[in-house]
Structures are given as C-alpha cells and as structure tokens.
Symmetry: D2
Subunit: 467 residues, 4 copies
C-alpha cells in the first residue's frame, strides 16, 4: 500500500466533519416520538442517497433529546424495532423441513432485529459511527436500572464487533508533536494515573525515554479508542512515582525488589534501555465497552518498539492492584486469620507507616506474600483470578513477575493496594503458551519469586511467623 | 476532526502491508483440507491475539489453492460452517414460549452461520479485508455453475454491507499528481471507455477541464472501489470522441442535438464551464458486487464540484446505451414492424452508413424515436427500464434528458447502441422527487424532447412515416 | 506543483533533525580558540561532503561556549575573517583600468568578507540555519556594548536577506489541531497580548471566529518566524478585552466609537462576519531582526481569508499605541501646554479614573484628539510617524482609521497608551496608493474622523476648550 | 522537528503555484526594453509588498520574450545593471584610509552588481526561484557565443550557491507510489541510460531490489534537482544490461571479473543483498550547473540505505567510461603504438567482434589494461584524471575498483567505451582519506587489480605481448 496516498484520503470527509461536528444544534427540544418516526422513515427509505439525509436528521434529533426522552426512545427501540414473529415462525418451519443453507439464511434474516438495519443506516450519516458509540454510552448508563434494554446492547455489540474489527484499527504514536486537540483527549481519558495538566502531560510524553501509542478508527477520526503509556528503562521499574514525575530512571534487573534497593540509572538515550515499561492503559470510549482492543494494542506496540529499538529485552507492565486493599481488609476482619498475621498487619492502622522503617519492614514481610496469594490463588466464580488487571494481562499471555513493595505511594495507591504495584512480564516466546494454559486451564503463569511468596503466604496462614 | 492527524494514521499499517502484500507465497500447493482445518482452528481460538496469526495463515493457504481446491473449499464452507440445527431448535422453542427480545437475540445468534464469524476473524489478518473481497470474487465466478454456494455469498453480502457502509468510504480526487500505483489501477479498471496507455490516461486526467474522483476504503487501502471521470464543459456534451481525445469542447446548451450542430467552444479555464459531464463510472472490485457505491459517489462529486466551481449549473452524464443495438435488431426481426420503419432501418446494413449524409439522416429520423421508446417504455420483469444504465441514473433521481445521435462513433459504440449516447441530467432540486417517483411508481423522469421522441416512436410503430 | 508530494519531502531531514536537536552537548567547555580553529578548517575544506562534518563540529563548539567566549569569538570573527587588503587593492587597480564587468566581479569577490563564506558553510550542517539565527541573536545582544561587531551583523543581514527571501516562506494556519510543540511556541512568542497558559491559548484559537497564521521557513522547520492572530467580527472591534477573553462579539460598523456604545452581536458562524480583525502580530526570532515579514504576512492572510470567506469586507487591526502615554506625559510636563488642557488631563492622576463616568468623559474629550495629533503629526528624525506601530501599518498601505477610547483597559494598556487602541484599516484598493504616498511623501492616510480629531487637537493646543 | 507539521507547510503556496504555473501567458510579444523598464521599477520599489507584483510582471514578460530579445536583455543586464564606478571609487578611497571592517563592508556593498539585488527581488514572485533557474539555463545557452555575458552567470552562481545550499535540500525516495507528475520528469531527465517509457521506468523502479532517491528544493517544488538509481545486489554487478532489463541478479563478490564468469543469483528479498549498486546519477536542472549536489546525494543515500538495510556491505557504482573509445582511437592512430598492440586492437574493426569468442578474448587482453592506464594515468591540464566520471567519484572519495569487460553491450556502450564499465567503490572508512589524497595530491585510489592492469598496460606499451 501507498502510505502517502492514504494519508490524504480523509481530507474531504474530515474537513467537512470538523464543521459539522461543531455546528450548534437547533434550539428545539424534540421528543422521542419524533425520533421514532424519523427511524421508521429511515428504515422505509431504500437505503440509498436520501437515506443519508434521513440518518443525519435522526441523529440530530437524538442529540437534542433529554435524558428522559432518550430512555423512552430506547424503550421504543426494544418494543417496536425487534423482529416480527410471523416471518420468523414461517422461516423456521421452512427450515425445519429442509434444513439447508438457503432456509437457514432466510431464518437468520428473519431473526435479525430491525434495530441492526436501523443502526447500519444511521451510520450513513457523517460522523454517524461516533454518534452511535455515544448512543451506546447513553444506553449503558441506563442498563443497570433498565435491564430490559439489554437486547439493544446486544445489537450494538454485534455491529461494533464487526465495525471495530482489529483489521480496521490504526496504531498511532502520540507525542509532543501530536495536535493539541488529540492531546487534550489523552489528558481527559487517562484512567490509571490521572494527568493534572499540560505540564504533567509533557513530563510524561515529551522525553526521549517515553512512548505513547493509541488505536484510532478512521470513521471516528481523531477520537482515540485506547492508549498505552510506555517508559523506556534500564531494568524493570518497581515504582510508579519516579515515572510520573518524569525522572528517567532504571533499576538493575533481577534484583530482589524485596530488598527495596532502588538503584536508579538515568538513561540519556533510548538506545541504552533494555526494558519497555507499560505503565498505563486507558480505554477511551465507554460506548465501546466489551470490544477488546488492549490485547492487540500491547502486541502491536511490542512489535513497534522492537523494530525501533532492537536492543529491548523486557516488555513489562507496572500495574496497579485494584481491590487488594479491600481483600486485605476482609482477611483482617476474618476471625480465622492467625493472630501472628493479624498482629503483623496491625501496623496498617498507623498513619504514615511507610515512613517508619521498622513498621514498614514488618508490614512488607506480611503483605507481599498475601498479595501473591491474592493474585495467584483467589479466584472469581469463573475460576479466574479475582483481580481484573491480573485477568487482563494473564489472559494476554503475560507472566505475573514481581510484586513491588511501595510501588505506588500516592494516596490512591495506598487506598486501593496498600501501596503495592505489580510487574507483568511479556516474554515473547512464552506468550502463546501462557495464553493457552490460561485459557484452557486457568493456569496463572508466575515467576519463582512470586511462587515462593505465595508459598510463604500459606505458611503465614497457618500461623508461622513471617521469617 | 483534524485532517492532518488522520492523514498519518495509516502509516504503520500500510507500510507493513506493502511488504506483506508483495512477499512471495511459499511454494507448497496445499489442499482445501488444510484450509478447512485452519478455519476450524481459527474459530476455536478465542478471537484474541493468536487469532491474527491463525487468520494470516488461513488466508495464505487460500491464496495458494488451485481453482479446483478453492471450489472444494467453498463446498466445505457450505456444508460444515453453517449453523447447528440443535441450538436453533432449542432457541426457537424458547423464543416461541416468551416471544421477547432476549429469546429473539438468542435465536438470532443461533441462526448466524458460523461462516460469518469465520470471515470476521479472517479479517483480523493484515490485508484481510482485501483478501476476503478477492475470495468473494472467486466465489462469484463459481456461482453460476454451483448455485448451491449462494449462501456463502449471502454471508459475504451481509458483512460487506456493514464493512463498506458509506460512512467508512473516502472520496479522493485522482489526477496527474496521484501516485503511479493508483493510476495504473485506473487504467486497468476503466470499464466504459477503455484507456489505452499512460498517454491516453494523461489526456483524460491532466487538463484543467478534467476531474476524476474515486471512493476508497481504509482497510483495502490504495485499491479504488469505484471512480467517475468528469469533463467540464460549456453546454451539455453530445459526443464522447472529443472528450476521449482530450479536446476541450463545449456546445451551446439547449440546442436540439437532433440538428447535429456541434459548435465547439474550447474552454481555457474551469471557471468558464457551466456543465460537469460525467462520462465514465467504473466499478473496480468484482468482489463487492451488489454493494452500491455509484449513487453516493455521484452525489458527493456533485457536492465537491459545486464547492470548487460555484458557477456550474448542469450536472449531466454522457452515458452509453448498452443493449440498444440488440433490442433494435429484435425489432427489425419482428414481423409486426411496419414496413415503412423496416425500410428506414435497412440503411444500418450499409457499412459506413454514418458517413453517407442522406442515409444517416434517414436512420436518425427512425432510430432516435425508437431509442426514446426503448429507454422510456421497455421494462424488465420488475417493471423497471430494461436498460441497466437508465435504471442506475433514474434510480439515482436523474432525468433522461437527451438522446445524442452519433454520440459514440467508435466500433463499440455502433455495435452496442448504433452510435447513440444519452445525457442523464441531475437537477439538484428534482433528485429527491424523481427518485421517489421512480422507486414508488417506476416513473421515468424525462425531458420534453425525449417525451416527444417517444411519442413519435409510437406513431412510427403504427406505420406513420418518420416525418 | 503537487502538494502531497511536497508534504512528504521533509520527512527524512526533519526526523533526523529531531534527534540531533535534542542530543545532549558534550560536557566539555571549549574556548573560542577551538572554535576559531574549527572555522579555519571549515574554510580550508573544499566545501564538499567533509565540510558537513566540520560545520556540525564548529556549531557544536559554539553552542557550548560561555557568554564571554562567544564575545571573544565574535571579536576574532571581526578581526580575522574579514577580507585581505592585498587582493582588494590588486582587484581595485585592475578594475580601475578596465572598468568592465569581469574586473568588477573580481573586485566584488575580493571584498566579500570571509565571514560570509564561513556562514554559508556552517549552514551545511543539519539545522545550521537555525543555529546561525541563534548566533545572530547572541550577537545582537552584544552590539550595544560592542558596536565594533556591527560588520558581522551586516554579513548576517546580507545572507539572511537572501535565505529568508519571501519566495522561501510558507504560510500555515495555526489552530487547535496544530501540534502542541508548535503551540507552545506561540504561547512563548506572543508579544502583544501575553498568553497566560493553554486554556488562554485555546480561548484565542479554538473558536469558529478565530484564525491564526504563521510564516515558516523549511530550513528552520517548526520554528515560526512571525504570526498574526485574527478575530472574525461583525463590525470593527474597538476593544481588546472581549477578544482576549474569547467572547465572540461584534459592533455596528461606522458608529462613532467616541460614543462608547459597544453593541455586541455574537456571531455564531464565520459566514456572518464582515470584518477580519488583526489583533496581534508577533515576531518570533530575534535573530531575524530587520528581515521584514509582517508586510507579506498581512497581505497573504488577507488573501487567504478573502478566499475562505468571500463576504468579508473589512480587514482591520486592533493595535496598541506604545509610547503614547510617555508622549502624553511629556506634553503635560511642557510648560507651554494651555492650562485648560492641562486641567483636563489632571484626571489621569486619579486612580481608577476610567470607572468615574464624569472624569472619563472629560479625559476622553482631551485625549482622543491628542492621540490623533500624536499619531498623525508627531514625526521622528526621518520625517516618519513617531509611533512604530503606525509606521508599520501605514508603511504597509493601511489607513489610520479610528482611535478607540478605553480599547485596552488592562494595566499594560493604561500604562503604555492611557487605554487607547487604534484601528488601522486595510482597504484593498487603496493599499498601493497609500503605500506609495507614504513612501514618497510620508503622507499619513487617515479617516475623516481621525483628521477631525487632529484638527480639534490643534484647537485644544491653542487653549480652546474641549467642547 | 515535527515532520507531519512540516509536511503540510507547503499546501497553500503550492496549490496556488499549480494554478499560476499553468495559466497561459498573455498573447503579447513584448520586447526587452519593456523588461528592462520593469526591472528598473522593481529595483526602485522598496522591496516590500508591491515588489511581489512587480517581480511577477517582470518574470511574465521574460517568459514571453523571443530568443533574440532575451539575448538583448542579457546584454542590457551586463551593461546597465552592474555597479556604479563613482561609489566604488569613493568606497575604496575610504577603505584605503582606515582599512577597517566598516569601510570594507561599504566597499563590498558598492561593488555588488545591481543584478544580484535584481535577482533577489525577482525571487519574490511565486515560483520566482524556478523561473530564475530557467533564466540561467537560457543564459548558459548563449555563453559560448557571447562570453561577455559571463558576469551575469557569476551573479547567478553566487546567489544559487547560497539558495541551494545543502542545508535547504530535501532527499526523497522515488518509487512506484510517487506521483505520476514526478515520475514523468524522471523519465525525461534520466541522462545515463535512457528510459524508454512507463513500462521501462516501472522495471527500473518497482521491484523490491530497486531504490531511487532525488534531491528537491522547497522553492522549486516538484522539480527534482538530481537523482540516483540504485540496484540491490548480491556481489558487485559487472554488467548494466541485466539491471536495465529488470532482472534481479547477483554475482559473487571478489571474483576476477576478467574471467567473465557472471554467476547470477536472483535475490528475492532486499535483506539478502550485500551491495547497493548506483547505476545512474542524473542532474536535472541545466540552470543549476556548477552547484554540486551529486556528492551530497551519494553520501546521504548511503546513509539512508545503511539505515534501512544494515547488512549492506558494499556501496559501489556501475559507471560508464565516456571518452574512452575516443582516446583508444587516438592511441591506435598514434604511430608510436607497438605493432603488437596495434594488431591486438585490430579486431575492433570487425563488426560484432564481441560475439566472436577468440576475437573478444584477444581484445579484452589488450583493452582492459589500456582502460586502467586511461583512467589512472591520463590527466587533464589540472593534473586530474582525464575521465570526468572518474574525477567525480574519485573526488568524492571512492576507489577505482574494477574494470568490467563487456559491461555495457548497447550500441552507446560500444561507441563511447568499447563496451567497458567501471565500478567505483565507496568504502566508508576510506572516503575521507581518499578524498583528501585526491584533493591534495591528485592521488587516484584504486584496487590492486586495477593497479596490476595499469602495470600490464605499461608493458604492452613497450611492445610486450598481452600474455
């Protein structure tokens, strides 16, 4: 393919879109009935050119609906835009008789909710794809209260799965040369470690040892779908604060992080790094929930980085452990917890414990093993790890590599995980096998160090002392 | 949206694709069994990253299959990748009981042929979309002989309708600054008036009074889907040869072309034109048959041109009349044809009749009315015009405006349409109405001139003389 | 020309430059002697490929010189890199004899200071042009103290005049889609009305009624040379604060701003504007002082805007009046000032006088005429207007159109111009004539209103009262 | 720098230029007097905005001048646009007195021919740079007949040396994705081995083992300045025909090409090549004669290729030997040539001698040594090699590596060099040294094989037999 040529493809559409997207909506406040009518007319049109105008009008009405009217509209979508029973019954009888492909095809068509064709036609409008993603975001906000709207969500999921097929996604590096209009979205969407302002963003992006990549989709243009932040490092990073504050740092790989030696080595040149550390992955579009991009993103970024910097040896995350603090509290509340352990954990109640060397050491000896147990052995009802971040990376084929004591000493870090962070390591040769073992047998791939910690947790649980 | 940003989105993907697309396939000649196995493995994978590799492998095998093996593969697709009756029956029974959205959704899912999920997963591969389009092209070649493969085509049509939704298409001007790799495809795909070589192409494109636009799709990159060639004119053009030979020309609008006065006025500047003449629309991808782009293309090109050259007043085609010569022959073979008319048409048998003034005049008096009748009154079994080009433009909302005697004096022109060409006029204010009348009532919008010609044809058919 | 092709031309160079520009300089602190040696070697090289390396090395040394060493280096440039008297004398004698072109050419070559060839060769280095611009910036900083360095500046001016010829400049729109790396330079370089931060920048740029354009030079890449900020308006704007705060506003054109009616009309769409108001022009590169871009910039921006928005009727500035407050103070200190006027101006000493309606009216009646006199009649030693902003716009062919009372009520506005701002109007048909009259006869083109104000000033000066 | 941003910089200018360049000139045929007047007015203008219009008008007049009028114009340029003696004399006297930098600067300014300022101002016009390059092309065509015009050429050379400084050049890869408008220029400008048509071009460019690079200058846009064609190879290529016909080929490196074993190894992948063979370097702009680009081009291309394909070991040319056949004939005409050698060369008179094995062997034994002598020992009046291609590559620091018998068996090849071609090898570590030895001492770097051949030539010259 010819990249330059493709680069320019979007011009016409996007320039026009820029204008369209900003135009003020009219001042009228329509009701859902108008929208339902517009949808009927759109479905009755022949799907050709006049449909574009009808689709645009329908979407314009939707945007101006109040929350209550949107809810009513969804109710009507559920009720009036399903498939008709008559044709389904007829198609099923025909199918039952011959059981062949043709009759199956007819049955399939008869069963397709008319919502799907409606959404496909709404997509004819300029910027229609993005509007539909926003529409699903609205819908998801209502689902908890109105579970009966779920079938609409199924239709969205079905279409979006097709439209946002990985074959249509485009990877793009984000840096300080990226347009401000994109960067402000990065600031807004960062979900793992909040970006305060433009200076903060610059610290994270605009250094020779930083990389950031995002997936985009041509039809929703400059809206990122997901992005990942990367720091180049010498050795595996164990703490997030130096990364967020923009200090180039490196630690000797292979050290026992338990020893809390954080020997930093500033790297002047990306060429000196041996490690790419993924320290934040953020999904941007609520309306695309369930359409998985993270896996593809990580693998493609690993490819990109390997090509740019062939000397990189380690691809690793520095990940939060959401839910661990709560789980830990539950353990402490559990009467069966050995008193020795109970005592060890008592220190958590001392404000600023991590600045008290003795207290900190005591807690570390107890908590790291417990964290290993939490991550390796605690499962949800599907038999998979309880921790969602672990599920994500293990499912991708990574290995639970290291538990970093005092990895995140922010307020949020203490609150959600007693200050712990975890490295998940992506070993290229093992990814496939890890992934398969995880999928087939729910096996948690982990390093010896983590395995040993988990063992120690079992001893602690039996009341053995922490050393 | 930000156009510059979008422009660069494709770089990574497309550069990689360039390499991939050219790599030689391995030398092995695999059989369809291997491919079927690869497809099963792909479906059994979890749809995540390892699926990309599986999809690539499967497509690579397909590309190396012999024609016979491809045919066998499609047979297996029909047989082994439909939907299972068991779950369908169960889902139908459940649906029958409650008739609600959830049960409908389950039934819909049960009925979806597994081919669709297979195709979606094959699309994960780099360049997968294009390979699937080529696969359907292969399939279409087999359908006539093997109509039992039709369900596969239904699946393709279903997916492609979604993937090639107009919202995903990008309009791009083609000119002499376009990369050679694209231009050679324009040469290859031109279907209406063959382009001989690069010089011929240059004559058609590289002049201030020419425009060419194509639709592209980001996932199939630099492969055009459809393109249209436009000549800017002073007055409506009646003859194709001056356009193809690159002469800038213009004729006074409103003249009775029956008078065969072709007063040319060279236009030096696009700003002097009042007419944009569409003289060739070519679909490029056989594998996208039935996914309609032409309509959207014409309307968007009209928009583009209106914006660039606000003084343009007429948007008109200069179109061929394929099938007319054959129809005319059938009339002459019909014993009921009045002898007067029969005699008038006798001249067609004289080689080079169009250079014999008297003969030409006589034929013109008879043939133009007959052509009007053919276009306006002859219908196919759906009650729509017999002529496919007429169906296309009338369906788009154009008006059958003028029948041009000796509009195409090439060998092909005489052979397919006795030298006639037709102007279909797109009047912006009438498009919607014309389209609706055509769709609802099969009304053929036509000018008074054409209507009068059709009337005269009726008289001729009754044996009245041609003047 | 083919724009897309050109777009990509820079890739290789610029990507490499990006790396080069950021690389840390070596830690050594060299002295000017090393640099002088490097310059000699560069001049002795044959100007071909090895010269690139020599040039890069010399520039790298320069960048690491201390301020004192730079000063010494310039002294050496003056002393050792002029032209040799011997060859000059010989060439002059030869010229004196024949007085022909050949001998003139030899003399010209003999007289060229070797610095010029040195600078041309330094320019071989990647990013050399930018480094030379920075070098001249350093030099300009020293000139006041060391006027003997002026000849070096002449050489720079000679070369830069050639290199930054208008034919090499490129106009570029700046908006919210511009890369952050450029935008932060806009923030830094804004000289007229300081930009506080990113939010402030966004208010100024990212609205449908704002435009910003900058000139760039390919060899110094993403460094803007000069930029202008524009607000689209309905009517001529009289006050800067609503513009800076991002309020879309408009005032009825033709009103006597003396009446201080500021009827704002928000414009929703650029298409509704009739006026483009230039409210800030900032030169970015100190090292390019004396190379004039502003004139070309304004004319090209007028062209761009006329093309985008053909309905625009007025191109006008909203300009500061630096120096007016000081001049006014000098008047007040002048004993010959009529006591009536002296009394009228007394109010200036009351803090917050502009919020006291009576005081404000009194001051307005006195100050606006005086400002007209200052702008129209006060001249410098070249017979041109004393006010530099007036010189710039009048020299460009604009008309001094309106004096806006309380046009800038910021602290800076009061301090430099008693709150006044001025509209200079660019009437396309008059520009050439105005320009010529100004150049030839120093004529100040001004509106009747301003002329009347100037007349009144003369009366006030004679002690007539202000009403 | 930010490449994407730069990419778009040109849009405005170039789009406008596209229109301007094509507009028909007016029909008037002006005389040189009008142009001289226009030039005077341009010089009298103040160099600001009105100058752009004046410059455009002057260039437009020049373009419409007849050849005779152009000649008269140049005569006037020589006579009327030099520098005035009065100011020169005065400035010299002032300089003589003080001998300081200021007075030197005044003298330098007084000596500058007014033509230089004229050309700088003509350059203000859109596309002015390109027009000036074409103007110099016209001038060069007249110089032989009118040597008195040489001072104008000096002025052009002085300015172009500054404007086309290597720092302003941009390297661009040319391939099948390059716009057709550029490719047709490559076809036109190829000077070494003529390109027949588009198919021929495609054979040379559009293969995975081909590369082509060109230098461009932003101000003359899509006009290439110089380009080089490269074939990737396994081993050093000895024959041009397989390369021109598009056969991928490779020969084992280090073989004695004297043995005429041409063991080809097709390379499927660029990654398999160890050699980049430069087989054609073409200057495109006659008007830039003497501004040297080739050297920079080769070095930058070596850099680019090394980065893309790090496994490349040899950078070598396959170069013609223009003038050798003529020199050989002079030897044969020389009565002092030993009869043995005279006899050996007799075979050249037999048509088709290269197809007669015995004859060919005999000639080869005589001619290759003579070619070595011609290239290594025959010098021009500056003591540099007589052969211009040798001067170019040796001056760049290459080594005369191999003389290829029957390297070019085209008619042109036989006619200019008895079928010989030469490999010049660029050994990165030796370039600097070779270049310096060549510059300082005119040393011809050559391989042992060539040196031995030259020795043998000396023996042959003494009448020793060829074996």
């Amino acid at each position: 393919m010819n990249m330059l040529f493709l680069q320019e493809l979007f011009n016409n559409i996007t320039q026009r879109d820029a204008l369209l997207r900003r135009r003020q909506p009219e001042n009228l406040t329509p009701d859902h009935g108008q929208l339902v009518n517009a949808c009927h007319r759109l479905l009755e049109s022949d799907g050709e050119a006049s449909s574009i105008a009808l689709a645009s009008r329908a979407l314009a009405i939707y945007q101006r609906l109040s929350a209550a009217e949107k809810s009513s509209f969804f109710a009507r979508l559920t009720a009036d835009f399903a498939a008709d029973p008559g044709p389904i019954d007829a198609a099923y009888l025909a199918y039952l008789e011959v059981r062949d492909n043709q009759s199956l095809q007819r049955l399939f068509e008869a069963c397709e909710p008319r919502r799907q064709e409606l959404f496909r036609r709404l997509n004819l409008a300029s910027d229609g794809t993005y509007e539909l993603v926003k529409m699903r975001e609205d819908l998801l906000g209502l689902l908890r209260e109105q579970p009966e709207l779920a079938p609409i969500d199924d239709d969205f999921a079905h279409l979006f799965g097709s439209w946002f097929n990985r074959g249509f996604l485009m990877l793009k590096r984000i840096d300080w040369n990226t347009p401000a209009s994109i960067l402000e979205k990065i600031i807004r969407y960062e979900a793992v470690h909040e970006i305060q302002d433009w200076d903060d963003l610059r610290r994270r992006l605009d250094a020779r040892d930083r990389r950031c990549f995002a997936f985009f989709h041509p039809a929703i243009g400059d809206e990122p779908l997901i992005f990942v932040e990367v720091a180049l490092h010498k050795g595996l990073p164990s703490r997030i604060q130096p990364i967020l504050s923009g200090e180039s740092s490196g630690e000797s790989f292979g050290e026992s992080s338990g020893e809390s030696r954080h020997t930093k080595k500033a790297i002047d040149e990306p060429e000196d790094a041996d490690t790419a550390a993924f320290f934040g992955i953020s999904n941007c579009q609520t309306g695309l929930r369930g359409i998985s991009f993270g896996n593809f993103l990580i693998k493609q970024v690993v490819q990109e980085l390997s090509q740019e910097l062939p000397q990189l040896k380690y691809f690793v995350t520095l990940s939060p452990v959401p839910g661990f603090a709560q789980w830990l509290q539950e353990q402490r509340d559990d009467e069966q917890l050995p008193s020795s352990l109970h005592k060890s954990l008592k220190g958590l109640e001392t404000p600023g414990w991590h600045q008290d060397k003795a207290l900190e050491e005591q807690l570390k000896a107890a908590i790291r093993p417990l964290a290993a147990r939490y991550l390796v052995e605690e499962k949800n009802r599907h038999g998979l790890p309880l921790n969602p971040v672990a599920r994500f990376h293990l499912g991708n084929g990574a290995e639970l590599h290291r538990i970093n004591w005092l990895g995140d000493i922010s307020e949020k870090g203490f609150k959600q995980a007693a200050g712990l962070m975890v490295n998940y390591l992506y070993v290229l040769d093992d990814i496939e096998r890890n992934h398969e073992n995880y999928t087939a047998k729910a096996t948690v791939a982990c390093s010896n160090e983590v395995r040993d910690l988990a063992k120690r947790a079992r001893k602690l649980a039996k009341g053995e002392t922490t050393k």
